[in-house]
Symmetry: none
Subunit: 191 residues, 4 copies
């Protein structure tokens, strides 16, 4: 499809620009210029700036979930799935630092709050990989009985922060440290 070409140019350019420079450093005019399209063209594909920004996040999320589902140990113990997911998140972010940085920008803005609120209310309906982990863990009594939000925070907050520090050059998150880090997270949620 020819028409999708421009859309993807815009998406990729916007992602990269916002990841590297922040929302402030990525005005519509600059996205258009670097993407090689007219300013008006962006508005043909995205109703406005907010829609573009939210779409960027959603597509990144889909890419990461797809990555996590590769070789997913379906049917294996919760513990194994937990390690697969956590390690996968680390691997994905380090392999795709722009996606991670964009995500940071996104969550560190009014968009992030809105997103989290929607997710909470929608979580019941749409099953996802993270929720499944929690629910099976609780049912099989291998993780502590805490609200899902607390489980997610214990499992992922240290990982996310450490990836951030890694990308900023503050720590070196190699395979060895990755393993120790995920083990620590598991220790905080397991019974």
């Amino acid at each position: 499809m020819k028409k999708q070409k421009k859309r993807e140019d815009i998406i990729r350019t916007a992602m990269e620009l916002i990841a590297k420079e922040g929302f402030h450093g990525a005005p519509m005019s600059m996205i258009a210029e670097k993407a090689g399209v007219g300013i008006g063209t962006i508005y043909r594909y995205f109703e406005n700036r907010d829609v573009l920004i939210r779409t960027l996040y959603k597509e990144k999320d889909e890419r990461m979930v797809a990555f996590l589902l590769e070789n997913y140990p379906h049917g294996q113990p919760v513990r194994e799935c937990f390690f697969h997911v956590c390690t996968g998140v680390i691997d994905y972010c380090i392999l795709n630092p722009l996606d991670f940085k964009y995500s940071e920008q996104f969550h560190n803005s009014p968009y992030g709050v809105e997103y989290r609120r929607n997710r909470l209310f929608a979580s019941a309906s749409k099953p996802d990989i993270f929720t499944d982990l929690y629910e099976r863990g609780i049912a099989q009594q291998v993780i502590r009985n805490q609200p899902p939000a607390v489980f997610f925070n214990l499992a992922f907050a240290p990982i996310i922060w450490t990836i951030r520090d890694h990308l900023l050059g503050f720590v070196d998150l190699d395979a060895s440290l990755s393993r120790k880090l995920v083990q620590s997270c598991w220790d905080s949620v397991k019974i």
Copy 2:
């Protein structure tokens, strides 16, 4: 002091506005208006917007550290100090939600990166309560041997994220959950 009255009006208003609306939602003109002062007045007390924003953070930090030092169990085991500090952070943030929300905005912006970088390089010189915890824990072999950044992330990231969820109404972080949460964090760093 009469003259500090306006300064405090500005500080309080700016804090509140930025905490609630983010940096974007708190232009100088609005801060001035809500604080009941002229725009120019802000510039008598703060050289520019950046200085105001960094001052706000520094003062919040001092208040929190003072809070944490009340009844600090000096001379007690690392574990006890760890619980004191973590519980203290939770209590302080829930008691002072504006301080917490401001802090989130601050860390989720270029200011935050700059701040962390300075802290990392300056950590050797100025001793602080968090670094002390890490160093004693390592020396006494009660916490795992990991880089300090990883220790901090395991210890505090889940707590910060859970406070955020509590203030957004996603979880109810009462005394009981607080205790369990801190225990989980401890489990992830202890040997």
Copy 3:
């Protein structure tokens, strides 16, 4: 070209406003308003205020040089060329009072100093009508041996000041006075 219409509206308005009211009396907002364009439009054609101001001067300069080169007595004696140029400057300025007044504002500001400095250092490279006059006059020993700046000042300063007084209504610089004035200037530089 349709697109150049607005650019010229801006140029003309800015010129007129600055000529009449000085730099202080011509803020970007007023230029935009009087030119019948939005403020932002000015910035499509000129990177910033400084660039606009320097462009205005450069375009005025080009117009005047073109005027002076009409019927220029190439190959004639230095004296004749001197009279052509001096008389031409007077005629041009009286015909285009806005150009002259703008020029005065320009030279009577930091822009003027910068301009003169560049001119002095660049004079060797780019040949111009004034420098040619000086060099031939010196070579043929018809003008006194003085630094070029002094020659220019003797030749043009009284003329510029008198044009200014004419436009302010202090003297009536008609053809007769013009001739006498240029003769006087020649008397001050000739051997």
Copy 4:
């Protein structure tokens, strides 16, 4: 007088600051600070900024006239007086570059136009050293019959411009060049 001390501090500081940095680089607050007085104090001695600026010029003018009247060759030929005045102007300006630079700033601003206009209308009433030169020159038929403004411009414009170039480092206006320059000016006005 104690009270005049502050007035003079203000005058001297304002002069120096405006001479060096231009009107833009000399806000009232900075003048007050460098003069070691309160901002409000300036307004006790000068009704407003315009009055201060005009007073500065008037006092500079009086100092220069006083300098020119030292050893003034009263009763000597017009030519001799002309040389005394022109050489005196050069000497004074080079000895007091701040006075000269301030003068340039002043004349290169709306104040200058207003000043010249007033001077023209007032010249009939208040006799001055320059007018005397012109009137005697005309009466004795040693200078050409031209409007006074033209005489002044021929006599002083090249000198002023050359002093400016000297202070900017573009030429070296030493005693030798000074003599030649004044001679040139005389050549342009003498019969």
